[in-house]
């Protein structure tokens, strides 16, 4: 995904945009919907599947949209979601 700048930043070649790695522990989810509602980039939506607790856990729509603000990690009451920065050497 290319970003349009009104001028090119001097270090744009060196800086790599971090990529997110979202982990959802599905069976811990109780389906409150906070992560879906309050994600600033709308990365999640409710899935069709039913987990061990009988609710619909969130599913990832587009992991690329994630900006790793980790608000979902902070607001999840059930410790069912966390975001990490993807560790990749070259190209992923």
């Amino acid at each position: 995904m290319s970003v349009k700048f009104w001028r090119t930043p001097l270090d744009s070649e060196k800086v790599v945009k971090p990529k997110a790695e979202i982990h959802i522990i599905k069976d811990q989810c109780k389906g409150c919907g906070y992560c879906i509602q309050y994600c600033p980039k709308k990365v999640f939506e409710e899935s069709e599947e039913i987990n061990a607790r009988g609710v619909h856990p969130p599913k990832i729509v587009d992991e690329k949209k994630c900006i790793i603000c980790s608000f979902c990690t902070a607001i999840c009451p059930d410790f069912a979601i966390y975001v990490k920065e993807k560790q990749c050497k070259d190209g992923c």
Binding site: H23, I25, Q28, K30, G31, C32, G33, Y34, Q37, Y38, V55, F71, T73, A74, I75, C76, P77, D78, F79, A80, Y82
Partner: protein, 279 residues
């Protein structure tokens, strides 16, 4: 081949055998616990020097969930117990996490006197406006006109303004956040853990199953939307004017000052007396 179980980064702060917790879908207590362990993680606090004390109520289960030395006291007495812990060993960081019914109804006197004496304990109060664990009876923080099983025609009692009460009683740090303000809440808990005197954070928390469904907020999300709509951040404003009404919840830090703590004065006095007696 062994199955790789996914581990949450905060899993080490929680007792594995007690997880998943029993709180309802979307309960604010989970968010408070999350913010608390987040603050512990960011500060890299020595867990051997941390004590979590809680009273009776839904949030009282926090003592069982945090993987530190903790104690689940009788109803209303977490501050009394915490005072003993702090005075016996002032090196320990003592955090009381309890509810509004526990701390301000049955334990009200313990709270105001601990604040007055400025004992170095840290209090986090989850205010969910009712006695959620026993069926949602009205309590000292239930807003006027709110409907609960024991006030079916609307509450006619004026609620406590907890931040004003704490500030007037002599607490040295007073803040209020809602569970939606998790970032600010975490920052506030971090501040709380680094302070010396009596510090108090009120967390306006949602109780969707018991309080919300009787007050036209059927789901946890609707209660969160209420916080989002009603919350106004006003740091260092007058706590007397920060009453919680359905239209407005004033949040922020209200007070931040330094005073000599009770345990410091106690040690000083003990040294003084033992010197006078020539010991």
């Amino acid at each position: 081949m062994t199955e790789v179980v996914e581990q949450h980064p905060f899993a080490k702060y929680l007792r594995e055998a007690m997880m998943p917790h029993i709180w309802c879908t979307g309960c604010g207590n989970g968010i408070i616990l999350n913010a608390f362990v987040h603050a512990l993680d960011e500060l890299q606090i020595d867990l051997d020097k941390l004590v979590v004390v809680s009273g009776i109520g839904c949030i009282g289960r926090t003592a069982g969930y945090t993987n530190v030395d903790s104690f689940h006291t009788t109803h209303g007495r977490p501050i009394a117990f915490a005072t003993g812990v702090k005075l016996a060993n002032p090196e320990l960081e003592v955090v009381v996490i309890s509810g509004d019914g526990d701390l301000f109804a049955i334990g009200g006197n313990h709270f105001i006197h601990a604040a007055r004496r400025n004992i170095g304990i840290k209090v986090i109060c989850a205010n969910n406006f009712n006695y959620g664990m026993t069926g949602g009876q009205f309590g000292p923080t239930t807003p006027l006109k709110a409907s609960t099983p024991t006030t079916p025609y609307g509450n006619i009692e004026h609620p406590f303004n907890l931040v004003h009460l704490a500030a007037a009683s002599g607490a040295t740090y007073v803040a209020r956040w809602t569970t939606l303000h998790v970032r600010m809440l975490t920052a506030s808990i971090k501040k709380l853990l680094q302070r010396k005197g009596f510090s108090f954070i009120e967390v306006v928390s949602q109780c969707p199953e018991i309080f919300g469904r009787r007050n036209k907020m059927r789901t946890a999300l609707e209660m969160m939307e209420w916080f989002k709509k009603a919350a106004v951040i006003a740091n260092f404003s007058d706590p007397a004017k920060a009453e919680i009404t359905p239209e407005k919840i004033v949040v922020g830090e209200f007070l931040d000052l330094e005073k000599p703590t009770f345990e410091e004065l106690l040690r000083e006095k003990m040294n003084e007396i033992s010197k006078e007696n020539g010991e």
